[in-house]
C-alpha cells in the first residue's frame, strides 16, 4: 500500500457540543492522490477541509498528516505545521487587495521563512502570470486571481494542497485554465483534496467521496493510482 499523506480515524467535529458537523469520518489520502469531496451544502465538506488544513481542531478522532498526529499539536505547532505542509486554494481567492500579485505570493513565503522575489516570480510564470506580476488583485480577472492563489499555495512546496471550490467563481474559459493547472499539479505528484459541487471537477479526481450529514456516504474510485493501487 502506498504511504498516506492524510489518515483520519473517527474524525468528528461537534459545534456547541451537540451539532455534528462531522461524525466519525475515516479517510486515507495517498501521496500523489487527488481526492474529490462532494456533497450538499452543510454536509461537512468545509469542516473536513478545515480539519485537514489544521485550521480547526477535531472534537474526537485522530488525524495524521505526513505521518504527524496533528491532534496532539499545540496551537503554535499547528500554525507551524500548516505553513510547512499545507497549501490552500480558495473559492474567493482571498488575495490581499493592496499587494500586487507578486507580493501576494511572497506573503506566503514571508510567513513560511523568507520572502524570495525571484522564486515568487517563477511560481507566477508557471501559472502563466509572468506579465501580471505587479498588478493589484483588482486589476486581474477572476481566473488570474485564482492562478495567483494557486501560485501562492504552491510556493512553499507543501505536502498537501487543499482546494475549496477552486472554480466556483470562474467563467468557463478560466475554469478550464484552472483545471489544467490542477491537472499539472497532480501530474507533478502533489496530493490534492478538492471540494467541489462541479461533477466535471469531481471527475478529474482519482477518487471521490460523498459526504452527507457529516458522514462519508459513498466512495468512488475513478482510476487507479500510479503503481496500480486503489486506495481506500
Amino acid at each position: 500500500m502506498m504511504s498516506a499523506v492524510v489518515r483520519a480515524e473517527g474524525l468528528t467535529k461537534r459545534y456547541n457540543g451537540r451539532v455534528h458537523a462531522l461524525a466519525g469520518v475515516d479517510l486515507t489520502v495517498a501521496r500523489g492522490e487527488w481526492l474529490g469531496v462532494m456533497g450538499p451544502s452543510g454536509s461537512g465538506k468545509t469542516t473536513l477541509l478545515n480539519l485537514i488544513g489544521c485550521l480547526d481542531r477535531p472534537s474526537a478522532g485522530r488525524l495524521l498528516i505526513a505521518g504527524d498526529d496533528v491532534t496532539t499539536l499545540s496551537q503554535a505547532e499547528l500554525v507551524r505545521f500548516r505553513r510547512n505542509h499545507i497549501g490552500l486554494i480558495f473559492q474567493q481567492f482571498h488575495l490581499i487587495p493592496y499587494l500586487t500579485a507578486l507580493e501576494n505570493v511572497m506573503l506566503a513565503q514571508y510567513f513560511h521563512s523568507l520572502a524570495d522575489e525571484a522564486e515568487a516570480r517563477v511560481a507566477l510564470e508557471r501559472v502563466g502570470l509572468g506579465e501580471r506580476l505587479h498588478h493589484l488583485p483588482a486589476q486581474l480577472s477572476g481566473g488570474e486571481q485564482q492562478r495567483v492563489c494557486i501560485a501562492r499555495a504552491l510556493i512553499n512546496q507543501p505536502s498537501l494542497i487543499l482546494a475549496d471550490e477552486p472554480t466556483g467563481n470562474l467563467d468557463q474559459a478560466n475554469e478550464e485554465r484552472v483545471m489544467d493547472l490542477l491537472r499539472e499539479l497532480h501530474a507533478a505528484g502533489h496530493a490534492l483534496i478538492v471540494v467541489t459541487h462541479d461533477p466535471a471537477i469531481g471527475d478529474l479526481a482519482d477518487r471521490l467521496i460523498y459526504l452527507d450529514h457529516g458522514r462519508v456516504v459513498r466512495e468512488q474510485g475513478l482510476r487507479p493510482l500510479a503503481g496500480g493501487a486503489l486506495v481506500r
Binding site: L55, R82, F90, P97, Y98, L99, L107, A108
Partner: protein
C-alpha cells in the same frame, strides 16, 4: 516584506489612518505645548508674580522688625546692595530707612525709599496723583492724608529730632496695608533726617523661585552679604509655589484628557481596521502567519500613527506654546530640549497602548473564517 505590507496597507487605508494620525497629532501638540510651557511656566508665572511685592526681607544681622520698619540701630550700607545684582534669582530690590518723624506736628512713620525700585515691585498699589520723581517729592498714605487734611500738590513738613525738611505731596497711595498711614520720602531725605547717610534699615527683595526654593535664594544673599540676615516671606513663597503647581497640574490634566481622547480615536480606528480586515487576518493565519507577525502588523500601524502624529504634534505644539507665551506671558518661550523625545515617546506609547486591545482581537480571529467565507 513587512515594509511592503505596511506601505500597501497604509496607502489603502490612508483616510482612516490619516484621521487617527490627526487625532494623535492634536494630542501630541498639546503634550508638546505643555512640556514647553511647563518648562517655562514656573519662571514666567514667577516673573508675573514678582510685580506683586517682595518675597524676601533683608535686615541688619541681629535686628528685628518693628511695625514701621527695623528697630533703629546698626543699618545696612547702601553701597553693599550692589552685590544683589550678581544673584540671578533677584529680579528687584527696594531699600528703605524707616523712622518715626514729626509730620505736620504729629508723629508718623516715615519711610525713605528709592521710588523707581519700589514702584517696580508694587504694581498693585493705587496712587492718586503721581509717583514722586523729584528729590523733594513725597508719597502720602491715604489715611494719613485724610487725618492731616493734605492732598497732592500740598507741602508737607517733616522733622526728626532737630532736622527738618519740607517736601511736596506728589501723590496719595492706597495699599490696604501699613503704607496707608505712612509718608514715603526719597531715601536721601530720610538718611539726612536720621543722620545716617548711606545707611538703610530694611531691603525688600523680589526673587524668582522657579528652579530653587526661596530659602536657597536667601542663603545665596547671606553668602554675599555676611552682615545681613535674609528672611523669606513664607506665605508669599508658598502662595507662589502653589500657583505654579496648580498651573502645571491644570496643564497636565488638559494634556491627559486630550491624549485620552486621541487614544480613543486611535483605538477605535485600529478596532475598525481589525473588523474590516477580519478576512485578511484569517488569511494570514491560514497561510501560517505566527501571532507575533500578525501583531507586528497592527503594532506597526500604532507606532506609525504615534510617530507621525508625535512629530507633527511636536512642531504644532511648539507653535502653540510660542503663541501662549506671547499672548499670556508677553515673552518668548524657550523650547524645552526634552520636548521632542518626550512628545514622541508619549504619542507612540499612547498609540501602542490604544492598539493592544485591537491587536488581541486580531489574534483571536479564527483562521477557519477564511474557508467558511465569513
Amino acid at each position: 516584506m513587512l515594509w511592503r505590507m505596511l506601505r500597501g496597507s497604509w496607502r489603502h487605508r490612508r483616510v482612516r489612518l490619516g484621521v487617527a494620525t490627526l487625532s494623535m497629532l492634536l494630542g501630541a501638540a498639546m503634550t508638546s505645548a505643555l512640556i514647553n510651557l511647563s518648562f517655562d511656566v514656573g519662571s514666567q508665572t514667577g516673573r508675573e508674580l514678582r510685580a506683586y511685592g517682595a518675597n524676601i526681607l533683608l535686615l541688619p544681622r541681629g535686628a528685628s522688625l518693628t511695625p514701621g520698619g527695623t528697630r533703629e540701630g546698626r543699618g545696612i550700607r547702601e553701597r553693599d546692595l550692589a552685590a544683589l545684582d550678581g544673584i540671578p534669582a533677584v529680579v528687584g530690590y527696594a531699600p528703605s530707612l524707616y523712622l518715626v518723624a514729626d509730620v505736620q506736628g504729629r508723629p508718623l512713620a516715615a519711610g525713605g525709599v528709592v521710588f523707581e525700585r519700589l514702584q517696580a515691585m508694587s504694581a498693585w498699589w493705587r496712587v492718586t496723583g503721581s509717583w514722586p520723581a523729584a528729590p523733594d517729592e513725597a508719597l502720602l498714605g491715604v489715611s494719613a492724608a485724610r487725618s492731616l487734611g493734605l492732598a497732592p500738590g500740598d507741602r508737607i513738613a517733616i522733622g526728626y529730632h532737630d532736622a527738618k525738611r519740607e517736601l511736596v505731596v506728589a501723590g496719595l497711595v492706597e495699599t490696604g496695608g501699613a503704607e496707608d498711614n505712612q509718608v514715603l520720602v526719597p531715601l536721601p531725605v530720610a538718611q539726612a533726617l536720621a543722620g545716617q547717610p548711606g545707611q538703610v534699615g530694611l531691603v525688600q527683595v523680589s526673587a524668582l523661585v522657579a528652579g530653587q526654593s526661596l530659602v536657597e535664594v536667601a542663603g545665596a544673599i547671606e553668602a554675599r552679604l555676611p552682615d545681613i540676615q535674609a528672611r523669606p516671606l513664607r506665605q508669599f513663597a508658598q502662595a507662589e509655589e502653589s500657583v505654579v503647581a496648580k498651573v502645571r497640574l491644570l496643564l497636565a490634566l488638559v494634556a491627559a484628557v486630550v491624549l485620552g481622547v486621541a487614544a480613543l480615536a486611535v483605538g477605535s480606528t485600529m478596532f475598525t481596521a481589525v473588523v474590516e480586515r477580519r478576512a485578511e487576518i484569517g488569511l494570514m493565519k491560514a497561510l501560517g502567519a505566527a501571532e507575533r507577525r500578525v501583531a507586528a502588523l497592527f503594532l506597526a500601524d500604532g507606532i506609525g500613527v504615534g510617530a507621525i502624529g508625535g512629530l507633527g504634534g511636536y512642531a504644532a505644539g511648539l507653535g502653540v506654546a510660542a503663541l501662549i507665551g506671547q499672548q499670556v506671558f508677553h515673552a518668548t518661550l524657550q523650547p524645552n530640549p526634552l520636548g521632542l523625545p518626550v512628545t514622541l515617546a508619549v504619542a507612540t506609547g499612547v498609540a501602542l497602548a490604544a492598539s493592544i486591545w485591537p491587536v488581541r482581537q486580531a489574534l483571536a480571529i479564527d483562521p477557519a473564517v477564511i474557508l467558511r467565507g465569513e
